[in-house]
């Protein structure tokens, strides 16, 4: 019972904080471009607006289109419940491990891609095709990252890898590889662009183009949570920190600040990358992810050498 309580707190935490990261990134991007930009809380306003709006569903769409938002939010939150934030290493997570995380996230993506095809619009199909192309190339890199990180702890358990001591080189290179695939997974420049609705460039946005109102709100929420999952994983790998063992208030407060600061650091890096590089052609993404794959292999070699 205790564990379910912790998981619930964790999910609430994810839902509460995840949109803030997107707001933060867009604020930083605008600041770097010398613009005033929208408020950091804009994602919350957007969600509130979407939840209050009516919804239009395509006449072509089937039930797959209707249930997709719920499957997407369920799979993303399920993945979020695997990440050790409040669930202490001592309390074991029977749901699944780091590898299961890949598959759980794939569930939501699979249905999103189907929903993109379901409406019969070319935009949706284009988005689905590109999304599946990118995600299928992301998976081997993610697997290599898990491999190199878990070699040290000897386990693919998510709680275990944050508990072992740092192997600086491995973790930094693995973190870099994870950073690159995070850009791809969270539709960031140079792979995708969240700010555009131009058919030649959009990937994720094209796939969900037909969604509106509350369904869109759920999907947007899921994207924010997914982004936070990836940011947390990067933070956990590059700045490994063990969770507080005692309930000493000072220690908990310090941990909480550091915890959020790490997320902010990742968000700032993403923002800086987004303003400083141009979006690449879709077919170049294969090279980009190929580079990430090589980084993953290097991380694996470093892990074997024990550095």
């Amino acid at each position: 019972m205790n564990k379910i309580f912790f998981i619930l707190i964790q999910l609430v935490f994810f839902i509460a904080v995840a949109p803030l990261l997107s707001g933060l990134i867009s604020k930083i991007k605008n600041s770097l471009r010398m613009r005033k930009g929208q408020s950091i809380l804009q994602p919350y306003y957007n969600l509130a607006k979407l939840f209050s709006k009516g919804e239009v569903v395509s006449a072509t769409a089937s039930w797959v289109f209707r249930i997709t938002p719920f499957i997407v939010i369920a799979s993303t939150l399920c993945a979020a419940s695997l990440i050790p934030v409040f669930i202490f290493p001592a309390s074991l997570n029977y749901l699944g491990d780091f590898l299961a995380l890949i598959f759980i996230l794939a569930l939501g993506r699979f249905f999103l891609a189907l929903a993109g095809l379901d409406t019969g619009s070319s935009f949706g199909g284009m988005g689905s095709s590109r999304e599946m192309f990118i995600s299928s190339l992301v998976e081997p890199v993610l697997c290599l990252v898990i491999f190199s990180v878990s070699l040290r702890s000897g386990s693919t358990s998510l709680a275990a890898f944050s508990a072992v001591g740092a192997a600086p080189v491995t973790f930094i290179i693995a973190g870099a590889a994870l950073f690159l695939i995070t850009l791809a997974e969270t539709s960031r420049i140079p792979v995708d662009n969240q700010e555009t609705h131009l058919e030649l460039t959009m990937v994720h946005e094209a796939m969900i183009l037909e969604y509106s109102g509350r369904s869109l709100a759920l999907i947007e929420m899921a994207s924010y949570v997914k982004q936070m999952i990836f940011f947390l994983l990067i933070a956990q790998i590059v700045f490994p920190v063990s969770l507080p063992v005692s309930v000493n208030p000072l220690q908990v407060i310090f941990w909480a600040i550091w915890f959020l600061a790490r997320l902010a650091i990742v968000a700032i890096s993403v923002a800086v990358v987004e303003v400083s590089v141009a979006k690449m052609r879709l077919f170049r993404v294969a090279d980009f992810l190929g580079f990430a794959f090589v980084l993953g292999i290097i991380a694996g070699i470093c892990a074997i050498l024990g550095v």
Binding site: A106, L117, S135, S136, C143, L144, L151, G154, S157
Partner: protein, 621 residues
Amino acid sequence: MLNLFPKQFFLFDPLALFFLAVIFIVSLPSAIYAIGYFSPKANPPAAERGEYSPGKITLSWFLLVIFILSMAAVVTAANALIFLIVWEIMSLVSYFLVVFDTTHEKSIRAGAIYIIMTHIGTAFLIAAFMMMYRHAHTFDFFALKNACQSIPPQIKNLIFLLLLVGFGTKAGIVPLHIWLPYAHPQAPSHISSIMSGVMIKTAIYGIIRFVIFVLGVNSSWWGILILILALISCLVGVIYALMEHDLKRLLAYHSVENIGIILLGVGLSMFFISLNLPYLAVFSLIAGLYHLVNHAIFKGLLFLCAGSVYKATGTRDIEKLGGLIKKMPQTALYFLIGAMAISALPPLNGFVSEWLTLQAFFLGAFKVTGGVKLFLGVCASLLALTGGLAAACFVKAFGITFLALPRSNHAKAAQEVPLAMRAGMFFLALLTVIFGLSAALIMKLLARITGSVTGIDISNMGFSLNNFILQPQAGKGIYLSPALLALVLIALGIAGFAVYRLTGRKKAVIFNTWDCGYYKVDARNEYTATAFSKPLRIAFSFFLLPYRKTQKIRESFYHVKSFTYETHTTPVFRKYAYEPLVGLVMRAAKFMRRIQPGSIHLYLLYIFVTVLLLIIFMNKF
């Protein structure tokens, strides 16, 4: 001296029983499905939809029974000679089933490729069994097993290679897969389902029975060779499947891929046996066998669904389909379940076995030392790539076939298939879910089977906790519980739905798809399968070697009336390996024809010379 008569005809050990179960799990629903498939009601009058005469239907039932029985005999034979005989019956009967639609020229061609390849495979098997016989002087499995311990390693290596080629041909390992994508789709759908679901698994049975059980693994390169071949099969299978737009052939290519995944488990197990890591050997073989039964179930299911689509529309080309989810809601649901399972999505069965296989790689990498660690890690990541590509492929297969608007009149006129066909699909879809959720129980069962094959004591290996949590290795903190996962997913989905209902009560407005404000969207605007797979065709162009044909049809020099545009990929294996080989054989045959001029004197000379040579040979050796 010659001891051909078997002491024991059949053997029912745990491995044989397991395969027997797999055979009947898929054959039973396929047979029920066949009732509907052959019923005349299902056939709107169209010749190409496969209307058979009553005599032919009776023949098909007869062949089906022989086919199933021969497969059952293959996995229970206790003697290599009996094994070969029933193996050959199985191959021949399946040949007749491949060419069952004799009106199709394609069937005859596919059958020819199939029967040639399968006999080449059998020839290798015969050679391997002969070599074992030389040492054992009997064909009984247990006697062979004992004799194999005294065979020198070089001979053992040779026997292993012969067995690998022999069984690999049947399993469809790349580059011996060439027949599989032709033969499997050409048979009637319930037969495709049995062939892809079960028949190719008998080859895996052969590898486990003869290499692991009889021969005994003694060098680590055996396992590594199988791993590499399996990985190539995975990737080649899935990449070709992505380019394929014939629904049944797409599934056949996925069989190549999935055989690869099964062999990853088997190969890893052999590798760990040679390294003397019994725990991991058992675990990897469990992963392989689990994927084997899962693949049998979901591939059987998918082939049955594809057959229903074919029955309802008369076409297998997914570019001409679409919108079937509204016309055939049940078939669509079953296909979706199958597609989710083969794409390894939680909490279905494909997810569990792929997770176990990945876990086997990881656990192995934690145990071994040095460069092998990296090898296993890279293998695991390529398996993940395969999984990602398979998901992309099934988004395409399901999305283009069942979603959006119908792309042809055939698809528009489709109707749901009769009850018997739906019943067969329902049964397999149900098993897909059950085999996912009850993973921990199945794991226990499989542990007993692998224990008996490898001769490893499994009594103190705890693979599961509380009967619903998988635990690959105790004390590592690695858990997976598909049942719990399903529960959490459903709970969160309901929570999402509750939020959706509570935040607004307005019903969704049904309106046209956004058409950029210009004209009504119709089926011509839809994304096609060719377009869907284009990014991957470009990413893998180094292997697929795509080329296009464009042709301008002109009315006059100035006015182009229309364009035709085709895009193709080069079949690398056929073009660069098989066609030169066939050319060589044909040239050799032409050359050899010279020694057969038709003169009886010359032929008498040949006989004399042959006898002379044989006498010399017998005296010398």
